[in-house]
């Protein structure tokens, strides 16, 4: 069984890492729609893929957050990427398989993945 002693050790380790990372958040946000239609369309695994990929690539400046209805059910799961000083980019019908590319191209290199955007889906 996972023990409390283990949790205490992880706490101490996390505390050290946190002081190193401090102040790294720059306001970049990955916003996942978590209304009923978003959840039914597969938002939960998409969100998990984003947190895993962002942890793997040590993108401490990016926060993954949720929102309710975005008002475009037909494009759920919807993910918005909001970076400071840039226009918001809205991705639609996102699957876990698409996440690595969005993280690499958009979050790391600053190039939105045009083909995954809602704007492209509406064409």
């Amino acid at each position: 069984m996972k023990s409390i002693a283990e949790l205490q050790a992880l706490r101490d380790k996390a505390r050290e890492k946190m002081t190193v990372r401090e102040g790294s958040h720059d306001g970049t946000r990955v916003v996942v729609g978590m209304a009923t239609c978003g959840i039914a369309a597969g938002a939960r695994p998409v969100l998990k893929a984003f947190t895993e990929e962002i942890e793997k690539r040590h993108l401490g400046h990016v926060a993954v957050v949720q929102t309710g209805c975005i008002g475009m059910c037909q494009f759920e799961p919807i993910v918005e990427v909001i970076a400071p000083g840039k226009e918001k980019v809205t991705y639609g019908k996102v699957t876990p398989e698409m996440v690595a590319k969005i993280v690499t191209d958009h979050l790391v290199n600053g190039n939105p993945v045009a083909e995954y955007t809602v704007a492209n889906l509406m064409k």
């Binding site: 996972k2 949790l7 996390a14 978590m34 209304a35 009923t36 239609c37 959840i39 039914a40 939960r44």
Partner: protein
């Protein structure tokens, strides 16, 4: 919804939207029934709202008229020989209880409750969650309030801490021998 754990995630979103600071999720398997209860200490509903919520075309949201979350959960329960009940009091909170025939062929599987709890805990740093799962007389519980005491200011959402929480939930639920 393909699994009931997704309904749980969705119904818990209502609690979060109602500004709850504590959300309790209870799963109980006993005497041929599966009971899922989501309780919160959020703003609650008036009797009028409670009546309207029985009407599937009701929502207080402005962007869209139809609320889907509760009707879908009710349908899943009724399809499986069960029912859904809502208790609520303004300023006190709300409890949604769904019952299912455990062995009913039309019952959706409970599915990935670890994934649902992980998502809820990770995304809602300001909210506490209590998960309690009971199978017959065996019981498992995870309470973020006691975890926070141990963590002493370190956020639950730290990757290593979340991994510990997921492993704890996985082991705990497995040890119950759940049939859901």
């Amino acid at each position: 919804m393909r699994e009931l754990s997704l309904n749980v995630l969705d119904i818990a979103q209502n609690s979060i939207a109602a500004a709850a600071t504590l959300v309790t999720i209870e799963i109980e398997e006993a005497m041929g029934m599966l009971t899922i209860r989501i309780g919160d200490n959020g703003r609650g509903m008036t009797n009028e709202q409670l009546e309207q919520i029985r009407d599937p075309f009701y929502t207080t949201r402005k962007t869209r008229r139809v609320g889907m979350g509760i009707p879908l959960f009710r349908m899943a329960a009724e399809m499986a020989g069960g029912s859904l009940a809502i208790e609520s009091e303004v300023g006190v909170g709300t409890t949604v209880t769904a019952r299912f025939g455990l062995d009913h062929i039309d019952r959706m599987p409970l599915g990935d409750m670890v994934g649902t709890m992980d998502t809820l805990i990770r995304l809602n740093p300001g909210i506490d969650f209590l998960y309690r799962h009971t199978v017959d007389e065996r019981s498992f519980e995870l309470d973020t309030r006691s975890l926070r005491e141990v963590l002493d200011g370190v956020p639950l959402s730290e990757p290593d801490i979340m991994d510990w929480i997921d492993a704890n939930l996985t082991e705990g639920i497995q040890s119950l021998g759940s049939n859901a």
